[in-house]
């Protein structure tokens, strides 16, 4: 069965990673984030090796979001609709695994992901079942 593992972040989180912050917090260097990137790479490689990974992608910063919505019957495009501190989708792993429990076990490993000074120690990951019919013969 397939599951989508989702992680979230804010524009501020992205800014911390790129040093594009407003200078309010500590300035973090790429070296500070190296353990995190290494962890993620190993995490993903392991999933690929086990044949459970279907796809994974990281999303560009929330500021690059475009939103399309109807206004007076016309689709109107707005740029960057998110507040700086709003948590939005940051990345995903689509996995195909034996059970919901296995998908959960995989996602739980993300809790061990290091972040500089533990700034993201309280990050969450969601596990969403893909809508696929799975059933045996009717008997």
């Amino acid at each position: 069965m397939k599951y989508l593992i989702l992680t979230y972040g804010t524009q501020r989180d992205y800014d911390l990673m790129t040093g594009a912050g407003d200078g309010a917090g500590p300035t973090l260097t790429p070296e500070d984030f190296a353990p995190m990137h290494q962890f993620m790479q190993e995490f993903t490689t392991e999933l690929a090796e086990s044949g459970e990974l279907v796809d994974t992608k990281g999303l560009a910063a929330p500021v690059h979001t475009r939103r399309v919505q109807l206004q007076a019957g016309v689709p109107v495009v707005t740029e960057g609709p998110y507040a700086e501190t709003q948590e939005v989708l940051a990345g995903y792993w689509l996995v195909e695994v034996a059970s919901f429990d296995r998908a959960t076990e995989i996602a739980a490993r993300l809790a061990a992901c290091p972040s500089p000074g533990g700034i993201w120690a309280d990050a969450v990951a969601d596990i969403r079942p893909i809508d696929e019919y799975s059933g045996g013969p009717e008997l």
Binding site: E49, S50, G51, S99, Y133, S134, G135, P137, E138, L139
Partner: protein
């Protein structure tokens, strides 16, 4: 499928078997055979099929294996090249033995279930990695890794290319049957929802089950396991017979009692029924035979109301002695309720719950709702249909359960029967 493809898929396990028996190197030989099959698939339609297609494939695959091993060894800068893979004296074996040994090897318990399925389809079924990937809706790269990982496991375990020891044979045959069953149910699941260009997995599972039935036919004393092989093949045929009636015009699930039975495939029903009728009286009766017998009772009923539920109840009675899992238990409850009334079913359900034999999931609530509805408890039925809908992860199933909840309250006369789609069994990952 074209005749060339049919031929290639039939020959695939024989060619691989011949190569591995001669040279060993299962993992590399499997790649070599894939390449030979691809070469044949492109050349034969244009130039004609060779006089001895099997020999042609073995020759081409052997050459390719030699090349692959050479480059492999060159890469490793090894000095002792040729000695590693010269022809060794192999005990003579038939193609049938080879195909069977391959099946046992691909379904070895040291592999993950997903690995067993992928390897079986490729090495025994003769499908390409791309075809297997398409069938499971994953990228080819994902499937390639899954297959190579399975082959690596076989290589590292040092598994011999030989039939399992007599003491292990039953368990190993059970693993093979389970893998074929999972391939079938994956194809079965694919028949609902959007129909994409998927390899017909149900058809492939039936083809492999036929192959296995040919290798391990019915025997009189039930020693060889042929009875359960026949049971599994019959179960597949009797289930697949209902395929044309399973989905409505919008891809929605149509539960069995609402299906248009004129759409059921009579030939498949006749074949499946003959198989299970021949298998049941011989040797020990296993779970696949019992499930096939249940499927046959359903398929023989001209209308849903004419279903011989007493016979189905008796079959589930036997099945629960072999399989005490929640899926069988709940199906047993439904059969009891259909044969002896909803109150008998509800009483049994309460017993099973008290004994911890069933888990409080979607299927449990759906069955309880159904029995309450038939017992006239509309409020209870509605509550449990909605609870089942809340727990269902599949949208068509959720839609079905919500509709049932709405129908409970409607003044229109309810259908007397209406078993929710059986989705308690989980297909392979």
């Amino acid at each position: 499928m074209t005749t060339v493809e049919d031929l290639l898929r039939a020959l695939a396990p024989q060619v691989l078997g011949a190569l591995v028996r001669r040279y060993g190197h299962f993992d590399t030989a499997e790649d070599a055979v894939q390449e030979a099959l691809l070469a044949a698939a492109t050349q034969w339609p244009a130039r004609g099929t060779p006089e001895n297609p099997r020999a042609w494939l073995i020759t081409v695959a052997s050459r390719r294996l030699t090349d692959l091993l050479r480059s492999d060894q060159a890469r490793r800068r090894r000095e002792d090249t040729v000695a590693q893979w010269t022809l060794r004296e192999a005990p003579p074996a038939s193609d049938a033995d080879d195909s069977l040994v391959l099946l046992f090897l691909c379904c070895h318990p040291s592999l993950t279930t997903a690995g067993q399925i992928a390897l079986t389809l490729r090495a025994v079924g003769g499908l390409t990695t791309a075809e297997v990937a398409r069938a499971f809706l994953v990228p080819e790269d994902t499937m390639a890794r899954r297959i190579s990982r399975a082959k690596k496991t076989i290589k590292e375990s040092g598994l011999p290319f030989a039939a399992p020891a007599p003491a292990d044979r039953d368990a190993r045959l059970g693993a093979v049957l389970h893998v074929l069953y999972l391939i079938f149910t994956e194809g079965y699941a694919a028949t609902s929802g959007p129909r994409l260009a998927r390899t017909d997995l149900s058809g492939e599972a039936i083809r492999l089950a036929r192959l296995l039935h040919g290798l391990i036919p019915l025997d009189d004393d039930g020693d060889t396991g042929g009875g359960e092989v026949a049971g599994l093949l019959a179960l597949m045929l009797l289930t697949d017979a209902r395929r044309p009636a399973r989905t409505g015009p919008h891809g929605e699930l149509v539960p069995m009692e609402e299906q248009d039975r004129s759409l059921w495939d009579r030939d498949l029903i006749a074949e499946g029924t003959a198989l299970i009728t021949a298998a049941l009286p011989r040797g020990a009766t296993g779970p696949y035979q019992l499930q096939a017998a249940v499927a046959a009772v359903h398929d023989e009923a001209p209308t849903a109301d004419a279903t011989d539920w007493a016979q189905i109840e008796a079959l589930y009675e036997l099945l629960t002695r072999i399989d005490d899992g929640p899926v069988v238990a709940l199906n047993h409850v439904v059969a009891v309720a259909m044969a002896r009334g909803p109150l008998a079913g509800l009483a049994m359900l309460a017993e099973l719950e008290a004994a911890g034999r069933v888990v409080a999931g979607q299927r449990l609530h759906a069955v309880r709702a159904h029995l309450l509805e038939r017992a006239g408890d509309t409020a209870g039925a509605r509550e449990h249909y909605l609870e089942a809908a809340r727990l269902a992860t599949s949208l068509p199933l959720q839609r079905y359960l919500v509709d049932r909840a709405d129908r409970v309250d409607s003044p229109a006369p309810n259908r007397e029967h209406g078993d929710p789609p059986n989705t308690a069994t989980e297909g392979p990952a």
